[in-house]
């Protein structure tokens, strides 16, 4: 009899792949809201995979930030668009080609990264995952962390500037 962990892994992995596929290529509906909802399901099932890896913090933040905030804003924007025009739109050959190249590149990078990755989780057990994650972020990975923060700040300032009605 297979372990419960394995069953859950295959269930969540299957759900992630299925929902991810339905998000980009749903044969039944070309409705962007449906795609967005499938993306939410993909994110939640990925959070399930993180839980199986005992990365509870990552799982919670994944649901909180992506499913709970980013996707809600996506929906907000999608709902303000003209959906009928969006549903009628035909596939564009060039777009599919460029998309395939982008996907291939990202898949290549990820595979390579996973191939060379060294597991880091060993330190976590002693003091709880969240605390050790914070410690690593502020010691070993301080520079990337700060650079990312500045990047987000720049993006935020840029958005505020762009959303002003008239650019001076």
């Amino acid at each position: 009899m297979p372990e419960l962990q394995d069953i859950l892994f295959y269930a969540f992995a299957g759900l992630t792949l299925l929902c991810g596929f339905l998000c980009v290529a749903n044969p039944l509906s070309r409705n962007p809201v449906t795609s967005a909802m499938f993306l939410v399901l993909t994110i939640i099932s990925m959070a399930g995979l993180y839980v199986l890896l005992h990365a509870f913090f990552l799982a919670a933040v994944q649901v909180l930030v992506y499913a709970g905030a980013v996707m809600v804003l996506f929906l907000f924007v999608i709902m303000l668009l003209d959906l009928r025009e969006e549903e009628r739109r035909k596939l564009n050959g060039a777009a599919v080609g460029i998309g395939a190249i982008a996907v291939g590149t990202i898949a290549g990078i990820l595979t390579r990264a996973l191939w060379h990755a060294q597991p880091l989780a060993k330190v976590a057990a002693a003091e709880g995952a969240t605390r050790s994650l914070g410690r690593i972020l502020f010691t070993q990975y301080l520079l990337p962390f700060e650079v990312l923060s500045i990047l987000l700040l720049v993006a935020m300032v840029g958005v505020i500037l762009l959303s002003r009605k008239e650019l001076k």
């Binding site: 909802m37 509870f56 709970g68 905030a69 929906l75 709880g128 995952a129």
Partner: protein
């Protein structure tokens, strides 16, 4: 109880968990039913009316004294309300998006109940290992925020599914409102956890049992959390997603019967969840200033649960009271309060708390 002790620990765990889930669910459901009654009674008293005082099963009139008394209190009203929701015609307008129309009420209810899973509603019951919390997660508070943030989908999808303009506007409003106040709420809690040093809610209560209630140490965080809780549960003065004076019924305009009742249920379950969160984070959970140690016996355990529930009821009554005392905010006022007042205040609070923790407490 002997055979329980002889069982495998994992089987024991599963059994206890199922029992806890069933009890918490049942208690919450009856809480919801009776908070609707309290809402009607309190609103009646505030407006100098009597409130529901007639509903009673035929048998009630044969009980001397107690029967008419209970009837006047409206004790039987929730049963009638529930029955009405179940038996009314479930009308589905022809123009709705069916899949979302069916999904939305469920999505509105489920997160409200899921948040209750991490809340420690008592210390221990019976033997010391039997903690009175369904899931003692290490990331408790993050779990809660994650699930709460999913609750908005119920309202948004309801607005979208209805395929007509008033529910749609309600749904759009609720997305903006929930996102804005979630940020304020999350930031207000950060300062609490800076003091406690742990995300686990049981640890938060442990800290408060020895170090005093956090409401006295973090009054600003509590105020921000409280106001944000009103906004997150769509209660007046922040019930803009349904504001009946401009949007008919807001996101649930097209819903009837049990589907409508589910939105109602979700709102009250959310109130219960956020009351429980406030009790846990700021008011010491199941502890009192002179009761801080986990209970050893059955009686002490029940007492702790009673303390927790009593504190929660106080917050529920406050939720209801506020609804009938204040007018609704305007939409721009709501956004202004969230983004330009609470978020900077919460950030300042985090900074001050961090400085205090770094320089004074060490």
């Amino acid at each position: 109880m002997d055979f329980l002790q002889n069982l495998d620990p994992s089987v024991q765990f599963v059994l206890f968990s199922i029992v806890k889930i069933a009890v918490v669910f049942g208690v919450t459901m009856s809480f919801v039913a009776y908070s609707v009654l309290v809402e009607r009674k309190v609103s009646a008293w505030i407006q100098d009316r009597v409130g529901p005082n007639r509903t009673a099963p035929p048998a009630a009139q044969f009980i001397p004294i107690l029967g008419p008394f209970l009837t006047r209190l409206g004790i039987f009203q929730p049963a009638a309300d529930g029955l009405k929701f179940l038996l009314k015609e479930d009308f589905t307008p022809s123009y709705v998006r069916l899949a979302y129309f069916w999904l939305a009420p469920a999505i509105a209810v489920i997160p409200a109940f899921m948040t209750l899973a991490v809340i420690p509603f008592g210390s221990t019951l019976g033997n010391p290992g039997n903690k009175m919390v369904i899931a003692d997660l290490d990331v408790g508070i993050l779990y809660t925020f994650g699930i709460v943030s999913l609750g908005v989908y119920g309202i948004v999808l309801a607005g979208y599914a209805a395929n007509s303009k008033y529910p749609f506007l309600g749904g759009i409003r609720s997305t903006a409102q929930m996102i804005s106040y979630e940020i304020a709420m999350g930031m207000s809690v950060v300062s609490v956890f800076l003091l406690v040093g742990d995300l686990n809610l049981s640890k938060v209560i442990e800290y408060q049992a020895h170090g005093g209630w956090l409401v006295f140490k973090q009054p600003l965080a509590f105020v921000i959390f409280l106001v944000a809780a009103f906004a997150e549960t769509n209660r007046l003065p922040f019930d803009l997603p349904e504001s009946e004076s401009e949007l008919v019924g807001g996101y649930h305009t097209e819903y009837s019967s049990m589907k409508f009742a589910l939105f109602f249920l979700g709102e009250y379950a959310n109130m219960i969840a956020s009351s429980a969160m406030m009790v846990t984070l700021f008011f010491g959970g199941w502890t009192l200033p002179f009761i801080g140690e986990p209970a050893s016996g059955l009686l002490g355990g029940l007492l702790h649960i009673g303390i927790f529930v009593a504190k929660m009821v106080v917050f529920m009554v406050m939720f209801i009271w506020v609804r009938w005392m204040f007018p609704r905010f305007r939409y721009d006022q709501l956004m202004d309060l969230g983004w330009r007042r609470f978020i900077p205040l919460a950030l300042a609070n985090i900074l001050v708390t961090a400085l205090v923790v770094a320089f004074v407490n060490r």
